[in-house]
């Protein structure tokens, strides 16, 4: 690690102004749990780091908006999100997901904004917030823009965010009466990065599946919505043949990536099996309030 400049601005706008659209050595950090590992491994050598630790308090708050939407400041620690009564009652799938994310020490330090901006496809929050229809409010030098979380990612560790843009807030729309689940499948130690992550959201009268939303991660280069799989599920009865067909459709419409957690063929098998499991898991999880 070579010495670098560390700046601790006190406002978000100041932080944005300190970023540099053209210099990859200038980067913001929130909790730093991912960036510090990259620096230790020598993968990233900063010229300037901008700590977001001192920006306005409101970016560390969780609130419920007028239309029942959940507004999560980008600097909210993951553990705060995990234990928020609003999250636990309205979005139990988020709290459930966080309980399996890294460990308590990481969750106490890592922030929601960083967990979305990092772009590692193995992370758990992006598929879950994508399937819930969450939007990120992004601030840049020219003002703010709104990007659906599922549209943030362009590839492996790459996002649509410019180098001088920051996620300020995440808005999760008010929950409808829906079933949700995140199935995290690890193939080595239980604490490993997942080989496959599947987030599902759906409605049902107990017999038929409606409005299914399926987003996968970890086995793909980036967070990926399975549109054809959704079509297969919608309007079909909850039974093994439907789930089996959905699994086949999921395999047919995705390009999976081999790594130390499994070959492409093995991950296809996982996907084939786990789509149905994730749907069943969502139905078993019950209805969020």
């Amino acid at each position: 690690m070579i010495p670098f400049e560390l700046v601790e601005p006190e406002t978000l706008h100041e932080a944005v102004s300190l970023l540099d659209a053209d210099d990859p050595g200038v980067r913001p950090f929130a909790g730093g749990t991912a960036l510090m590992l990259m620096m230790k491994a020598g993968v990233f050598q900063p010229s300037r780091l901008i700590s977001l630790g001192r920006i306005e308090e409101r970016f560390s708050m969780i609130s419920v908006g007028a239309r029942g939407e959940l507004r999560i400041g980008a600097m909210v620690p993951l553990s705060t999100l995990e234990y928020s009564p609003d999250v636990q009652s309205a979005y139990p799938v988020i709290a459930d997901t966080l309980r399996t994310l890294a460990n308590i020490r990481v969750r106490n330090v890592a922030r929601v904004g960083g967990a979305l901006a990092h772009g590692d496809p193995h992370m758990d929050l992006p598929p879950v917030l994508s399937v819930l229809g969450a939007k990120a409010i992004v601030i840049g030098p020219g003002g703010s823009r709104e990007i659906a979380v599922e549209e943030l990612y362009t590839g492996y560790y790459t996002t649509v965010l410019a180098r001088n843009e920051l996620i300020a807030e995440v808005i999760v729309p008010a929950p409808q009466t829906r079933y949700a689940a995140y199935l995290k499948y690890t193939t080595r130690s239980a604490a490993d990065w997942p080989a496959l992550g599947i987030a599902v959201l759906l409605d049902s009268d107990g017999r038929m599946i409606r409005d299914a939303s399926v987003v996968i991660s970890a086995a793909t280069e980036r967070v990926t919505r399975l549109r054809h799989t959704q079509e297969i599920l919608n309007g079909k009865a909850i039974e093994d043949t439907t789930l089996h067909r959905a699994g086949e459709a999921a395999v047919a419409e995705t390009m999976l990536v081999a790594d130390a957690r499994g070959s492409m063929f093995y991950k296809q098998q996982l996907l084939r099996v786990c789509i149905g499991r994730a749907v069943r898991m969502a139905l078993a999880n019950g209805v969020g309030k």
């Binding site: 690690m1 010495p3 080595r188």
Partner: protein
């Protein structure tokens, strides 16, 4: 009364808190990583990027020119001080820095010393090496017949008589071939009713001690002091003294607490580089490996084991042939020892009339290997306990019943000819069967989740012949200091040694201070390896304490006290010397009887001072759709001798078992053209809390270990023998899939399942 209150004997067998526990939980325990030396430089190592090649040129100009860099050294500099800079415990084959050739990706080629580690690291990036690349060999079986030779000639160290005949041999990658012939295997095949043959493989795995390797050195007058996280301070002193041509007294090796060892911190690791750097730079130097770098300094052996058995109609194994190839990596390190000392147990803990073992250590262009908790026995038990189960199931005999028919029982000769002194193998198996409730029906399931159970037993000889020396000092106020070079790396040796001394002296363990190893002050010990300390150092400590006790008694007689008087020790000193003055020093030296195996037949009448015996029973849940295996119950039973400290013994057994869960299911160093691709803990997984079965049970088979201090013996590795094969046997029990290669990943399980279902797997 004095500090050491005299109490009746009885500390032995109780579980007093560990001596270092308060310091550890309050963050005050001393580790080498925290050692700061005045004016010290930080070293970082430039490593080879190719697996095999001749060094044409190393350009260090830009690195030297970087501000903050003090110096950059290569082998050429080392040779100015050490003309023959090769070291190693069995072979003198490893250069301090790569000389003429590099033999694996990650080999140390140059060292940069700078004011801070970051500058040193930056300077390392500026070094350019030009190599003439040579063909490389990675597989231990291919290396035997390969035309690529990792070393031009074999260089056995003179310390081992049985290796002398290898000196100067060239055009071979075979470091050593241990041979054992018992009975007449060739003719026995004809008498067998059935013959079974299988080949099993294990990958290179990492030790992953959570404290990575770290060493510092400084000159104090004419003495070179080395502070190092080492399991072998005495060896470090001897080997560095040999390299420099200095007397041992001019090298001082100091060791603090270790954050784990598992045999990674044995022999010479960073000590030679740090010593030479200090001498060349004339400044104190610290070199700390990162977790990722550690994997380039040391790994542990991959193995191929081919095992063939002949079984008669009664279900008795009458002949067994074992061919073992140990992938030692680029330097021998402990390879020749492991090939022999674990090699002679390759046929397993069974009573077999005809045995033939060929156990070869082989050079390859991979990181050098050393033992790893179990010293090769887990590699072998993986083969013989999977093989044994396969035979039993093929014959339709219950696997425990089949083992009982064939076990090596009390009074029977092990393959080397050494007589098994007790029936602990049978007792371990009996206790496993009992705790597994083996005779009761077992529900294997019908749906996606299937359930299975399996057992495995194993045994290990202790490294021999080895010596331990202890001194115990009784101060004039009656307080005690135990001086030993045993390294407490978390296994609790300080507490155990204090308990042994306390038992003899009739005081509490807590009242004894156990010094950290410091070769100027603590006497010789071969090393804290191979579960040898409780037995070897324990005996030395017992002798030292007995010596001190007899000197106290002599002192009491001298001043006219009645025999058996309860006078405080401080009074004895005060009466004798007229004030608080004087010392009593007790000393003990221990080396157990041993007979080396014959180099022709492998026979020995006394091949080990004691056997370690352990077994594992597991229940698993197998996901028939994804292949994921969850261990739901894990029972470890081991012969623990007489327990010194039951609480520590329990953590040794369960800790060994947990470590092996990773070995069984997912640990593997991945290489691509000799380049390790999963050096970090994010990519190289080890078991975490959630991988530990809810039912984790340790069962002690207690016996009186003849020759052990108060009947005690080592048990740090006994929990490692059975885990992987027991899991394999349980997977087979659950779904009928037999795995022969470690690790048993979810993918390999599912692939096996598809195979027996006649389904296509990908492009295969």
């Amino acid at each position: 009364m004095s500090i050491s209150d005299r109490i009746p004997a009885g500390t032995f067998g109780s579980s007093p808190p560990r001596l270092e526990s308060y310091a550890k939980v309050t963050g005050r325990a001393e580790y080498t990583h925290n050692v700061q030396l005045p004016n010290m430089l930080h070293g970082k190592i430039f490593r080879s990027s190719i697996a095999h090649g001749r060094i044409r040129r190393i350009d260090v100009t830009a690195a030297k020119a970087l501000p903050g860099v003090h110096s950059v050294f290569t082998a050429a500099d080392v040779c100015k001080l050490v003309p023959n800079p090769y070291y190693g415990p069995a072979f003198h084959d490893q250069p301090i820095l790569a000389l003429d050739k590099v033999r694996y990706v990650g080999e140390a080629v140059a060292v940069v010393l700078a004011d801070d580690p970051h500058t040193a690291e930056q300077a390392v990036q500026l070094i350019v090496a030009d190599y003439e690349e040579l063909p490389a060999v990675f597989d231990e079986v291919e290396a035997v017949t390969s035309a690529t030779f990792v070393h031009d000639e074999l260089k056995p160290a003179k310390t081992f008589a049985d290796l002398k005949h290898l000196a100067g041999r060239s055009n071979t990658n075979v470091i050593v071939e241990f041979k054992l012939d018992r009975g007449d295997v060739k003719n026995a095949w004809a008498a067998a009713d059935r013959i079974f043959e299988h080949t099993f493989r294990t990958p290179m795995v990492a030790h992953t001690a959570l404290e990575p390797l770290v060493s510092l050195a400084e000159m104090n007058g004419s003495t070179l002091t080395i502070h190092t996280a080492s399991q072998m301070p005495s060896f470090v002193r001897i080997e560095i003294a040999r390299l420099l041509g200095w007397p041992e007294s001019r090298i001082r090796v100091k060791v603090l607490h270790l954050g784990g060892g598992f045999a990674a911190k044995t022999y010479i690791k960073l000590e030679a580089i740090v010593a030479l750097s200090t001498l060349l730079a004339n400044r104190p130097v610290r070199i700390a490996a990162t977790m990722e770098e550690q994997a380039y300094v040391i790994a542990s052996h991959a193995t191929t084991c081919r095992i063939k058995s002949g079984v008669n109609k009664a279900g008795r194994v009458i002949a067994r042939q074992c061919d073992v190839w140990w992938n030692c990596g680029a330097y021998a390190d402990v390879g020749p020892r492991i090939s022999q000392k674990s090699g002679f147990t390759a046929a397993g803990p069974y009573d077999i009339e005809n045995v033939l073992i060929r156990s070869r250590g082989v050079y390859t262009n991979l990181p050098l290997c050393t033992g790893r908790r179990g010293f090769g026995v887990p590699n072998l038990s993986w083969a013989y306990e999977s093989h044994t189960d396969m035979i039993a199931r093929d014959l339709g005999v219950d696997p425990i019943e089949f083992r009982r028919r064939n076990l090596l029982r009390e009074g029977k000769e092990q393959a080397t000819g050494t007589v098994m002194p007790d029936d602990s193998i049978a007792q371990v198996l009996d206790r496993l069967a009992e705790r597994m409730n083996w005779s009761a029906p077992f529900e294997r399931g019908h749906g996606v989740m299937r359930y299975g159970r399996g057992v495995a037993v194993g045994f290990k000889a202790v490294i021999a012949p080895t010596t331990s020396v202890a001194t115990i000092t009784i101060n004039a106020d009656g307080s005690c200091i135990l001086n030993i070079s045993t390294v407490d790396m978390g296994q609790g040796s300080d507490t155990v040694m204090a308990q042994i001394a306390a038992e003899v002296l009739g005081i509490t363990a807590q009242s004894i201070k156990v010094s950290h190893p410091d070769t100027d002050l603590t006497p010789y010990d071969m090393g804290t390896v191979g579960s040898r300390s409780t037995f070897h150092m324990g005996n030395a400590v017992k002798l030292a304490a007995e010596d001190a006790r007899s000197k106290i008694e002599a002192l009491a007689r001298e001043i006219g006290l009645t025999k058996g008087s309860n006078y405080p020790w401080s009074e004895l000193f005060h009466r004798r010397y007229g004030m608080q003055a004087g010392n009593i020093v007790g000393m003990g030296t221990f080396i157990p009887p041993y007979a080396a195996p014959s180099s022709e037949s492998g026979h020995s009448a006394n091949v080990t001072p004691y056997w370690m015996v352990g077994g594992t029973g597991v229940e698993v849940e197998v996901d028939g759709e994804t292949g994921r295996v969850r261990i739901t119950k894990l029972i470890t039973a081991a012969d623990c001798g007489a327990l010194v400290n039951p609480r520590i013994a329990e953590t040794q057994l369960s800790g060994a078992a947990i470590m092996q869960i990773g070995y069984a299911l997912f640990e593997k160093m991945d290489f691509d053209g000799g380049q390790l691709t999963n050096a970090s803990l994010a990519d190289y997984n080890i078991p975490g809390m959630q991988d530990i079965p809810l039912a984790l049970v340790s069962v002690f088979v207690e016996g009186d270990q003849q020759g052990g201090p108060f009947g005690a013996k080592g048990l740090g590795e006994s929990g490692t023998f059975g885990v992987a094969p027991a899991v394999a046997n349980a997977i087979h029990d659950a779904i009928g899939v037999r795995l022969i290669n470690l690790p048993m990943t979810a993918e390999s399980v599912l692939r096996g399942l598809h195979k027996i279902q006649g389904r296509q797997w990908g492009d295969e």
